[in-house]
Symmetry: C2
Subunit: 444 residues, 2 copies
């Protein structure tokens, strides 16, 4: 996949023949990847050198933000060719994030048919299946033969994004099931479609969250999911490639949330320093405010610390370990929720298992902690450290494991229960556990 | 998706009629999901109640570990029907993780043709494309027409896992390109296949890592990736549903690694407490040993702490915030590497941007930190806290952002650079920064 020179190098050398040669030999997704790594003004230059079909293929691989920037650099003719050629769902996705001015320019440049389809998709809520599905579907009636079905597909299939999954509908476009192109091709031409239709196929509602539909498609191993409205009428098809993009974006979002960053849809290398800082600042600021609790707790136990100053030595180790154990539990449960292994009803069972896991881990760590502590301090202080490790680990795992479920119960994305959030929470509570145990064991 | 009673409830009530009714109405992936949530002995009972086709469909949805447990509960006839019906790639995946005894029982129960295909797949390295691809492909010669091609597909397509992507080969099965079933169906029957073939399609080598091939398939938006050997000869097809599973598993692994857990392929609710504890213990133990550095550092600066005991109050807040900022940077870069937005060659640029992001964040946090600290302590100590926040954040973001790239450079999975690892590293170094700054500013 790696070429010696990148597109950027070639452009900087102003070697337009080499640029043209490079563009002619690379597949669209590679070209799109290179363009996304350049800034918008520079990217328009090679983009204009692509022929009409290649331009469309490359354009469809770009993120909505990059698409808008390319569009703003194009003249009317090239602009219109491009947006008219796009699939309606890709167009709706781009416009969903575009300023009103761009939306207007795009919609007014379209043919009436394409404009209608795009406007319909834009009517669905952001992040819903309706926004992403393709409305261009070849639907078949149930009372024809395989041969007749293939003839219809030949006539109507040219515009459809996929003809591999063929929804079968009865009057009023009510969905009966789906038929696979594979079965139509492989079976005897006179077979009635009714014999080939799968009526148990899962469907999505156009207003469902796109991520749920994508996970359903992945779990059920199907190529395209028929999309219906509230009255089971066929409105479109949710395709596997869109599902893969949705899952990748959702996993990227979850990864960002897990580290207490706000998710955003840009490219890491393309984002400005301010943009990156903004996505991380909110939680860092909230968490530092929460962390002042640790100052209050430490202050409340200042007398304890002054009597046994050796206790201060182990504060970072104890709260660090507690934070780590809590982060492990939280991440495991967030992921298990995302892929459907855990449901909100499992709360009690999750608490019970994480509490035991935490005790087991705490016991192991206590052995190490005791060994380390006796090197540095009085054995009785070392005992405080060891016992604290057991209690803090059990507590941290329980908190970390249950918080994502509690978040989901109250309707918050469980992925916001980030490692830093759990760490900060366990820092303050872990200190209380440590000092209370110290007072008890050392008899202060 | 939610049914009132789960399969488990029905079984516990011993209501076999209701179990049978439930099994008859649910799609295979829902049944598999319920079975995976039960223990092996209990799961065999409803599994035996499925008819032959349903049993196979459900079985193929299970994880390899669950598959083995179901298999061990089956008699010879049911056992043979099941494994003979599986696709060779699914069979190879299950056997890849099975004990030798199971492998022997499975292979010896197969027909010679199926045994050969399975054994060939098992010859590829674990985690490679070859292990997961389907070897049952309909390959077409380049010198026929669309109509002739469709006839061949009808004859040979019954066993193939997919007939939507048709590899076109010349003598010696050397790959020329692919043709889509869609194009064969939609074009005039007399069109030569040569006109429909796409020769620029990306391919995978059978020995490539499966994750790379899956990401390539997703990025290029294609349904199936032709798989070739070192001499460009066609050996199979890597299908979109396998790619989705590989990506989901890789993202689950990355999520686990990001929280310093060892990845394992089991179900969260199905795993034993010891199994969960084992996956988390290794890193926790390594990290607590590394955390003893914080004890050493604190001890080295004990004189400073004894002179200004107020400094101890802010230790958890400072190292906690530094850890959070480092974890954000590390997670962002790990994800950007996974989805291909950052390459190892970008190291210098990543360091430069993370350093600036850290400075910006540190400056914001310093304002809050100063405000909090002046409430509790002497303004000069508050100043130490504020300056430390700026330096620690810049340092943490730089370390967190560059470590995944350095790991990748030396051939380690960047996802092992976990939030807890960065946090622990930043704890010790953050303390040094804090105490050194305190000595300098307070003139100790």
């Amino acid at each position: 996949m790696e070429t010696g020179d990148t597109l950027k190098d070639l452009l900087e050398d102003n070697d337009l023949t080499a640029v043209r040669a490079w563009l002619g030999t690379q597949p669209p997704y590679v070209i799109a990847d290179e363009l996304a790594r350049m800034d918008a003004l520079a990217a328009v230059v090679p983009f204009r050198m692509l022929d009409k079909d290649a331009a469309l293929a490359v354009f469809e691989e770009l993120d909505p933000v990059d698409q808008q920037q390319i569009l703003s650099g194009l003249r009317d003719k090239a602009f219109r060719d491009l947006i008219e050629g796009m699939d309606p769902d890709d167009r709706a996705r781009m416009l969903g994030e575009a300023p009103a001015k761009v939306t207007h320019r795009v919609l007014s440049g379209l043919s009436p048919r394409e404009r209608l389809m795009t406007a319909e998709l834009l009517g669905y809520p952001d992040g819903s299946v309706g926004r992403i599905m393709t409305p261009e579907v070849v639907a078949l009636p149930v009372d024809i033969t395989a041969k007749q079905a293939l003839r219809r597909i030949r006539v109507k299939g040219g515009n459809a994004e996929s003809v591999y999954t063929l929804p079968i509908v009865e009057s009023g476009r009510r969905l009966v099931g789906v038929c696979e192109l594979r079965d139509l091709v492989l079976s005897d031409p006179d077979t009635p479609v009714a014999e080939l239709v799968d009526t148990q196929v899962p469907t999505a509602r156009a207003t469902d969250p796109a991520e749920d539909a994508a996970r359903l498609l992945a779990e059920a191993n199907i190529l395209n999911l028929p999309v219906v409205d509230s009255e089971q009428r066929l409105v479109g098809l949710f395709t596997f490639d869109d599902a893969m993009e949705v899952i990748e974006a959702a996993d990227t979002e979850d990864a960002a949330r897990q580290a207490a960053s706000l998710p955003w849809s840009g490219h890491y290398m393309f984002a400005g320093v301010w943009q990156l800082a903004r996505s991380r600042a909110t939680w860092l600021l909230l968490l530092i405010v929460a962390a002042t609790l640790t100052v209050t707790v430490t202050r409340a136990f200042e007398a304890t610390l002054e009597q046994v100053t050796a206790l201060a030595l182990f504060i970072p180790l104890l709260i660090g370990t507690g934070g780590n154990a809590g982060a492990q539990a939280a991440t495991a449960v967030v992921r298990a929720l995302a892929v459907g292994e855990v449901r909100t009803g499992d709360l009690a069972r999750v608490i019970w298992r994480e509490c035991r896991v935490g005790l087991v881990l705490g016991a192991m760590l206590a052995v190490v902690g005791l060994g380390v502590a006796v090197i540095f301090v009085d054995p009785r202080v070392a005992l405080v450290v060891a016992v604290s490790l057991v209690v803090i680990c059990a507590w941290a795992a329980t908190v970390g494991g249950s918080m994502p479920l509690l978040a989901k119960k109250v309707g918050i994305d469980p992925a916001v229960v980030s490692a830093p959030m759990v760490t900060t929470l366990v820092d303050a509570t872990g200190l209380i556990i440590y000092f209370v145990l110290a007072n008890a064991i050392l008899g202060l």
